[in-house]
Every structure is written in structure tokens, then in C-alpha cells.
């Protein structure tokens, strides 16, 4: 396990040596981007109002405090299940040039391919740590697509050493959750065999 700080704009070579299971922190631009934003770009063909090239997105819907005069503050923010975006992510990476996708839980084959072909990472922020995450956001620089409501808007955040982020898919398309699943299922079968012999309570 290695620890590294990535600063946006991120280039292909910055990610070259990063592997699944590595620990990274992110400094620079992180944009919240979830279900509807993915759908709008990929299905509806509406161009995103922010340039994501070399930047990072966060599968998350924050609680934001509106201080007036276009001044906003993140109160609480945490990742949502990334798998919901699986359907769109490969094309999303290709279209936008995004380099780091932050979320919760694993993603599938599509995203693996996207990460390999376009040199991007999927990383996990440990969920349930919403106050810590909020304190790593230095400020909200811009907000777009407010018509989607607070959770779905694109909040363009400036973050400093945002993390810990655990690499779940690397630029070779290696996928830690998929690998773990095979091992977990095998162990589960072993445990079933063991336990089921000891619970014959019905005579």
C-alpha cells in the first residue's frame, strides 16, 4: 500500500504507477456528479457545463448551506453507490476526459474498460464519514444545473488532500471488488458447510 497526493489537472503519467489497493488523496477540482448528470450527458447528449478534463468527479449528493450572494458551504457530503452509474461511466469517461471517479462500493466491466482505455481511476471514499469529507472541501467554486435540486446539482468544489481514497479500479482495468467477490463467495460456501452441520435444532 502506497500513499500519494494527486493534484488536478491530472495527466495520464500521474496515474501510471497507481494500482488497486493504493491510497490516494486529491487536491484541486472535484465535481459532484451522479445519476441525472450522467443521464443528461450520455442519453440526452446535453454537454456538461464544466470542463472535467483532468479533473475528478464525486458520486455524491451533498447537504449545502446557502449563505446568499452565490456563496455556498458544504455541511455534509458522502459517497452514494457507484454501481448506479455503471451503465454510463465508460462513455462518460470517454466524453469528458475525467481522470478520477470517487464513489462507494465497486463498479463493473464497463467502467473497467473505460478506465483502461482512457487512463482513469475509480476510487472509494469510506462512506458514512460525511463531516470529515465536508471539512476537506475548501470552498464551492461554482454550481451548475441547479434545476436538478440540491443533491443532483453539479457542485464544483475545491478540495485539499481529500481522502482517504482507496483505488478500486486502476488504469489497467484491474478491479478489486470483482476480485474480492470471488474470494468472499468461496469462503462463504466453506462457512455454510461448517455451520449447517451444527444447527440441526429440528429433530
Amino acid at each position: 500500500m502506497r500513499k500519494k497526493v494527486l493534484t488536478t489537472p491530472i495527466k495520464d503519467e500521474d496515474l501510471k504507477d497507481i494500482r488497486t489497493g493504493d491510497l490516494i488523496y486529491l487536491t484541486g477540482t472535484l465535481v459532484t456528479c451522479r445519476d441525472v448528470a450522467h443521464r443528461r450527458l450520455i442519453e440526452k447528449g446535453v454537454p456538461l457545463p464544466v470542463d472535467l478534463k483532468g479533473n475528478a468527479i464525486f458520486h455524491a449528493g451533498p447537504i449545502v448551506r446557502d449563505n446568499g450572494n452565490e456563496n455556498y458551504e458544504i455541511v455534509s457530503v458522502g459517497p452514494t453507490t457507484s454501481m448506479r452509474m455503471e451503465k454510463f461511466e465508460k462513455e462518460f469517461i470517454a466524453e469528458t476526459g475525467v481522470k478520477v471517479i470517487v464513489g462507494k462500493g465497486g463498479m463493473g466491466k464497463n467502467t473497467e474498460e473505460g478506465c483502461r482505455e482512457h487512463k482513469a481511476l475509480h476510487v472509494v471514499f469510506p462512506a458514512g464519514n460525511a463531516v470529515l469529507a465536508a471539512t476537506k472541501v475548501e470552498r464551492i467554486k461554482e454550481v451548475h444545473w441547479k434545476d436538478l435540486g440540491m443533491p443532483e446539482s453539479l457542485w464544483v468544489c475545491e478540495v485539499k488532500e481529500f481522502g482517504p481514497l482507496i483505488v478500486s479500479i486502476d488504469t489497467e482495468g484491474s478491479n478489486v471488488f470483482e476480485q474480492n467477490k470471488v474470494e468472499f463467495n468461496k469462503k462463504k460456501e466453506e462457512q455454510y458447510e461448517l455451520i449447517s452441520k451444527q444447527v440441526g435444532f429440528i429433530n
Binding site: A127, V131, E190, Q198, I202
Partner: protein, 304 residues
Amino acid sequence: MEKVQMNKKQEVEKMTDIISKFITLVSYKLPKDVETKLKELSAEETNPLAKIIYETMEENQKLASELKRPSCQDTGVLQYFVKCGDNFPLIGQLDNILKQSVYKSTKETPLRHNSVETFDEYNTGENIGNGSPSIFWEIEEDSDKVEIYTYMAGGGCTLPGTATVLMPGEGYEGVVKFVLDRMTTYGLNACPPLLVGVGIGTSVETAAMNSKKALMRPVGSKNTNENAAKMEKLLEDGINAIGLGPQGLKGSKSLMGVNVVNTARHPSTIGVAINTGCWSHRRGKITFDANLNYEIGTHEGVTL
């Protein structure tokens, strides 16, 4: 007559205020048993990545307490488990008090707006709605007290529980399979280390209710039935051995524990349900006497 009504109104306000503040507390501070267990799991962990996740959790809880902000952004749908004495003076008002407390706490904390009216499909924007929060009742004879459990957790863990009714031929072996299968599919993403509630009963609804009650039992407590306690231990060791670890990214342990709650069954059915409580197990217990003096059973050294 007028005076009495006035008093009742004031009492209702007082109790609403206390419960609202209690909900706020529960949103940013975990109960003692959970705090202790997480510390223990963190200390025992050997996987370096998992250790970092535990450290992150500890730092987050510290920050949440200091800033009095909800520790997880998903503040769930409030669920209450009430055991009310038949002589508790506000027994008739209690449903309303519990609902209004959620509304008040939502504005003051703030909690997330998690109440969407079904079919009309709009968010009420108040975090309360038709039948929301959920309130489950029990009446206690010859008592003037009320004991209230509050539970707050999100749409990715405890709300999507699952239940089924097995045939007796499938036996408790079937129960084991049902629980283990759920762990590697759903449990993985439900923010382990989990507290797993298993309910055994006669039908889907009794099993489901038992599995939720199981999550109200303290971490580390045991079922009083010897076989059920054995099952708790076997499942706990078995799920830990699968090695999910915190956030499903592998680790020495995957659980805070397994709690089984059971009731009798029809000879031809075994109802079984699972409720996965995530690591952010925001459970609280508060007891009121007839004069609305209260005692908090789950959190130490706190003031409302």
C-alpha cells in the same frame, strides 16, 4: 378544565422539545456500545487499509460531535420502538409528539429530507410524511413510564432488509444460507462492520419485526435461548471468516455482531428476516417518567 388543558399542551411541547434534541444527539454521536465495539475492532485490525478506514471513522465521529453535524449525510427515516405504560399521561399524544419531534429536529440539526410521498412522488421537504416516521408500539401494564428507542440509518443498509418464509424441511440450515447469501451480495455495500439483526418467526412480518428489534439490542448482548445464542455465535464467526472488512474492502473482522430475536412459528413455516445495521448505528434509548423526567440509556456523559 382550562388549566388542565393548558398543562397538557405545555407537557406536549416539553416532551417534543426533549425528543427533538435527543434525535439531534443521535445524529452526531454513536451509542456507547457501538463506540466501544468500533474501538475494539479498530485495535484488533491487522489489514493496513482497513486500519485507515477505522481511523477515518474515528476522526469523523470526533468532528461530528464537535461541530454537532450529522455524522453521515444519510439520516434515514426515523424509526421508533415504543414501550408505553398504560398510565403514562401523554399516551394519547405520543404518536403526534414523536412525529413533530422529527420535524423540529430536521429544521434544527439539519437532517436530510428523506420523506417522499408514494404515487404522488414528491419530497415533502419536511422529513415527515404519511406514516413517516415509523412508530412501532407495545403497551406495558401497570406502568406510568415510557421507553423509546430511536433509530436512524439510511437507504443503503437497514431500510432494505429482506425476509422469506422457509419450509421446515429447509430447517435452520436454510436460515444460515439465507443470512450468508445476503452478506456477500448486499452486506458488502451496506457499510460494514455491520450489526446483523436476524428475526425468526412464523411469517414475513413477524420475522421482519423481530429482525429490526434485534438491532435495538445492545452490541455484545446474547439471546437467552441457548440454541439461538449458539446460532448468533456461529453466524458471527462465519461472517467474520468471509473477510468482508470495513467498506467491503477486506479486513480481519466484518461485524459488530449478530443479534437474533425469535418468536414461535406455525408447524409448517419458518419465517426468517435480516436487517443489516451499518457501522454508523445511530440508535438511542430514552425513558420518561410520568413527570417527564428523562433518562438516556445509550449515551454516556451527554446533555440535551
